[in-house]
Symmetry: C2
Subunit: 487 residues, 2 copies
């Protein structure tokens, strides 16, 4: 950008970008205005705020999809609009910021920083690698295991798969001379990249705290009367999740085989790296302690001590601050947490208020009348699959969950699907569909970017695993959920 010769081109480039932003913002505003101008249903006529809020909400969702600005900017503008339009009081507009589920995820962001800061995440990966890394297949499983250990307390899949594990994939690929520059990427780089990516999306589905949009689904389900807890989420996901995690490395090994199958050096590299890292530090031991403390309290806290998931996260965070595993400087600098706080608060606040003002009830009633008498099994499978593949049109699970999760869940419940079953399946699909494209979630461009996997392979295998995921979760999951009494 230092040359001035291309100045004219840059100006027109810049103008193009500005035009595109204005166009995207324009569409979002237009969507809101159209809703606002539509005739208000009779049941909502008594309170004009209901329809106004719906207009702002739809405009916000369209903006999240069209993406003229970062989510946080859109969220702040949405909050401002609800107040300036006299739709909500300032206090109500800010109510999302004190939502307990939001703070669960915000705290999880802080806690997960500990894995990165102490180096524990990296150590775990190399430990698994030293044990299992003698073959490429074992290497793949060892990366997945390491990812899995972090998943329950690390809600940013970009940080987890993209930030902690993928750098190890890259350094491994380099060590085996598997490079994108000279066409040797297929040796190990391609296989490990794709396996990591597909498996991580399954991990996102397995724990409420493994992906930032999961608690958003929980909140929306809660506003429809379905209360999902951390434990009920994890138990229902356990069996189909593990089956998928077992299948993915093997399936890709067959259909997308790595050029190098034996990797005795990898185990050596891991051992050498572990030697370099040295013995487990006090900070890492504390991190391990906090990790188990949180996990145990998440599982047993609610029943044994009356301590909920968010309180547990606060206990974990406090412990890390007291023991100096984290400093408050780390907390203040954790941009992902503050980002999530802002967009999450705006979306949850609007969803809650749409419910309070009767919009959700009106929508559910309308849908229920339209679908009266339909067979719920067929209808729900249709809904779930449609929800899954609509992710081709989304660049963020959050935008997708905000836009469609609540509406489709209401429809599913209206046709007679057992509410908890419907809420969980749609929530799991909200992670699983991230495997479809190279823009589907934050970790996708990170892992796709270096070029180990071609666009065709990414999309092709993405589609293949979407089918495998859907079948496993609906069939194996279906049986498991029957056993659990969910339907």
């Amino acid at each position: 950008m230092q040359s001035t010769s291309g100045g004219g081109g840059q100006v027109s480039e810049k103008k193009k970008l500005t035009d595109s932003i204005i166009f995207k913002a324009g569409i979002s505003i237009l969507a809101g205005v159209i809703i606002y101008l539509l005739p208000v249903p009779q049941v909502l006529e008594h309170d004009p705020r209901a329809w106004r809020l719906l207009a702002i909400f739809v405009g916000t969702i369209v903006a999240l999809i069209a993406n003229p600005a970062p989510m946080g900017t859109i969220a702040i503008i949405a909050i401002t609009l609800t107040v300036v339009s006299q739709t909500l009081s300032m206090g109500v507009a800010l109510s999302g910021f004190s939502n307990a589920v939001i703070w669960l995820i915000v705290c999880a962001f802080f806690i997960s920083r500990g894995f990165i800061k102490t180096g524990l995440g990296e150590r775990i990966a190399y430990m698994f690698m030293a044990k299992l890394g003698k073959k490429t297949l074992g290497l793949a499983y060892s990366l997945i295991f390491a990812d899995m250990v972090m998943a329950p307390t690390m809600p940013s899949n970009t940080a987890r798969a993209g930030g902690v594990i993928f750098p190890i994939v890259r350094s491994l690929a380099n060590a085996f001379n598997s490079k994108t520059e000279d066409g040797t990427q297929r040796k190990v780089g391609s296989y490990l990249s794709k396996t990591l990516f597909q498996a991580d999306n399954v991990l996102c589905a397995m724990f409420m705290t493994a992906m930032a949009a999961n608690p958003l689904a929980v909140e929306i389900a809660g506003s429809l009367g379905v209360e999902i807890t951390w434990v009920s989420w994890a138990i229902a996901a356990l069996v189909p999740g593990l089956v998928c995690l077992l299948i993915i490395p093997v399936a890709l090994y067959k259909i997308y085989p790595p050029g190098i199958k034996e990797t005795p050096q990898a185990a050596e590299i891991a051992k050498k790296r572990l030697d370099e890292i040295g013995p487990v530090t006090k900070q890492e031991k504390l991190m391990i302690f906090v990790f188990f403390l949180i996990l145990l309290l998440w599982i047993f806290g609610p029943d044994l001590f009356g301590i909920g998931a968010t309180a547990t996260a606060f206990i974990g965070l406090s412990t890390m601050l007291i023991t100096n595993v984290l400093t408050f400087e780390d907390v203040k600098s954790e941009k992902g947490a503050w980002d999530t706080l802002v967009w999450f608060a705006a979306l949850v606040m609007m969803a809650t208020q749409l419910n309070t003002l009767g919009v959700i009830a009106w929508f559910s009633d309308t849908v229920a009348q339209a679908v009266y008498g339909v067979n719920w099994v067929a209808a729900f499978i249709l809904i779930a699959v449609a929800y899954f593949y609509s992710h081709y049109f989304f660049a963020s699970a959050t935008a997708h969950v905000s836009a469609m999760y609540g509406g489709l869940l209401a429809v599913a419940i209206a046709v007679g699907t057992p509410p908890m079953l419907a809420a969980l399946v749609l929530a799991y699909f909200s992670s699983l569909y991230m495997g479809l494209t190279h823009y589907a979630t934050g970790s996708a461009p990170v892992i796709y970017g270096p070029g180990y996997v071609t666009m065709g392979e990414w999309w092709g295998f993405g589609f293949l695993f979407s089918v495998i995921n859907i079948v496993v979760w609906l069939v194996v999951g279906g049986l498991w959920w029957r056993l659990l009494g969910l339907w």
Copy 2:
């Protein structure tokens, strides 16, 4: 720290530090435990949560004063304790995060970043300097004017006086060869440093949004039934504030005279620097627009459009994000804002809940009985002055306001002081007392640090101006408030 020879010394240093932290933390815990073990007053016996919350609150306040950890860490531990002790539900413990006054100050942090990012703050300083900077006295006023322009929308005095204006003082001092290394600091550096510091504390008192602890006082006053608005704060502070701002540079000019009195070069330097900066950019124009928009809406919004101070701040922030004066990246990176959000939310939540659980009413009633029949004028002056000088024991206005503002305000009201008068005077003093020491507030160590002013001078003049401030605010302010009908 690279040499190993001092290793033993470092270890013992580190141990000393750890011991000191443990000691400070121990005192804080002890304070809470002592309160917890005291006999519970009869009126509070029906709900054991009331006394438990008081114990946690007192422990927190002692920790803010003893300072074993950053405020944010203490705040997170306090929130955790309220929940783990089953004193408050998670939802209530988080309620502070949706407090509108907190978001006023958080948004003001974001907005004030615009002054720094666009360079507008610096430009304003040099513009005043170019006009008034031919003499050292004029130079002092020009710095104060520039500081004053930023004060209403910039709640971090450390960023404003320490970050924007003080660097200009240093570069001026260097330009006039007034250096701390060779004993020439008195030429201009000493005078300008001390003037800036004393004047900035007055500016902190003049606007609700000029200092982070101001809205905390407003919130606490609100919980005692005294509703202070942005405008009522500013009007009542206007006259005594301006009188002090006029006095400070002249008074220091007489008693702490700069060696150089004529500074024609300063005006030249300013003009040269303005030439270097170039014409006002589009970003700066937008910043000016936002500044006036916010100021006008703060003044006229509530009455004309029903738009409160926080909604106005959101409008300002949205405008800055839409026009790209700020990016959301700037928002996420604004650590001061997130820091303030956390400690503020914890303190306001506890203060509110102490009120809800009846602790404040019990305290006020007890005090009212004890002071029945006392002359309120004498009593209030005593209370206010005692509050002022107790700041010798505090390193943060926030800690001081949290610890004493509410209690003393309750006492002042109990003896018969008009509530609004009492609330405002104590709030103003919460800024004015920051002039006392070199650790009294965040900007103090920044400006004291380089050594232009000796410790003796800092404390001596600090005391002198404390007397001047108290007399001006109580006498001139007293007359002005009589005129306004506050008493």
